[in-house]
Point group: C2
Chain length 195, copies 2
DNA sequence: GGTTGATCTGAACGCCTGTTCAGATATTGA
DNA sequence: TCAATATCTGAACAGGCGTTCAGATCAACC
């Protein structure tokens, strides 16, 4: 056997990425073999190397795309509003974005240590960019007097950690809807930085 | 060769646990081999099985001990004070405890998926006990009128996520001391649940 | 319709995995 | 001093790992 019926790179490529994403999220990068990924897509392991130079590149590609999406969507938020309104936008966006792709969020955090040093630096840089966007909102609010935050760097990390945690417990069939969750978190964030 | 000079279970046992802890935290449970652990302690892999029935039991033992320590220390906090004072105690304790053993904290969260189902249930139950302690504080404060929290369950998880995040960025040689970090987080938590 | 190139198989490479165990040696207690 | 026991080695087991590649087959285009 060799090339199989219906084989098409435009279809196989995304399917490999989806399978890898699911398996990495469930078992962890190190615990998932190329043969497992191939099997999930109905291929032999060798065929994967038409789509990625190696396993590491597959992980990095997933994480990089995720971070690019995150920063891309973030840049589309209104940036001329008052700090309080921008903070609310940020909070609601962060929750919605993360609840929309819990597996990628999980991987982008858990598998950082499985990146090569240079790949790690890239992802870490993008993460820093994201944090900076929030810190800018907090700083603007402090300067304006609408926020009271003793340490904007710490507050930035505290808020992001609090919000990202939503992915560990939220279930679509649970008692709370996404808008309700957004309201509840926004209420806490708003008070935590209030003057 | 066989039994080596100076060999003693009372010394080797803890050294194995320390090496496993360090390696699991750095590379992840799945990425660390029994031979690596043995090598870090100066043993052959087979010798590890005098101390643990298998690799899984070694991971579980580390996590179980960690959770027992956490709940043990928690139970020694004053429990008769007003909710506001109990919440402050909880916040300061949580930060100090977690900053004192960042590797264990990391493992206890990251390696949950590498536990067998029954081991997972045990750790998850202990984690739930810990969360319940905080939720009780928040509920008491709401009942008393000193806190205003729309959803105590969500607020519990939000506060814990925010506080635990400190382990991802805090460095002993950084610009902030532990008491300063405690003050800053407590300030945010206090306001976030305030009436 | 025939040819070219894209896609995949299947086997192979060298190496690593968790775990077991017989046997060897050091320590301990009598 | 000697026997008993605790501790560890070193080899072995069956299987899995990431990756490469020659060759087979299908899809697409002229």
């Amino acid at each position: 056997m060799a090339r199989t019926q219906g084989s098409h790179a435009g279809i196989t490529g995304p399917r490999i990425r989806e399978a890898a994403l699911r398996l990495f999220a469930e078992h962890g990068f190190a615990a998932v073999s190329m043969r497992q990924i191939a099997s999930a897509v109905g291929l032999q392991a060798g065929a994967l190397y038409n789509y990625t130079p190696d396993k590491q590149a597959l992980l990095f590609s997933l994480m990089k795309e995720h971070m690019d999406d995150l920063l891309g969507d973030l840049s589309r938020l209104p940036s001329q509003d008052a700090p309080q309104a921008r903070l609310e936008s940020f909070v609601r966006f962060h929750i919605a974005f993360h609840l929309d792709r819990p597996e990628l969020v999980f991987i982008a955090y858990m598998e950082l240590r499985n990146l090569t040093p240079e790949n790690f630096r890239v992802i870490e840089g993008l993460r820093r960019d994201y944090e900076d966007a929030l810190e800018r909102i907090l700083s603007d609010g402090v300067a304006e007097g609408s926020f009271e935050v003793a340490d904007t760097k710490l507050a930035t990390l505290a808020v992001i950690a609090m919000l990202t945690g939503v992915t560990t417990w939220y279930r679509p069939d649970g008692r709370l809807s996404v808008p309700e969750v957004q309201d509840l978190y926004w209420d806490m964030v708003r008070k935590s930085v209030s003057a």
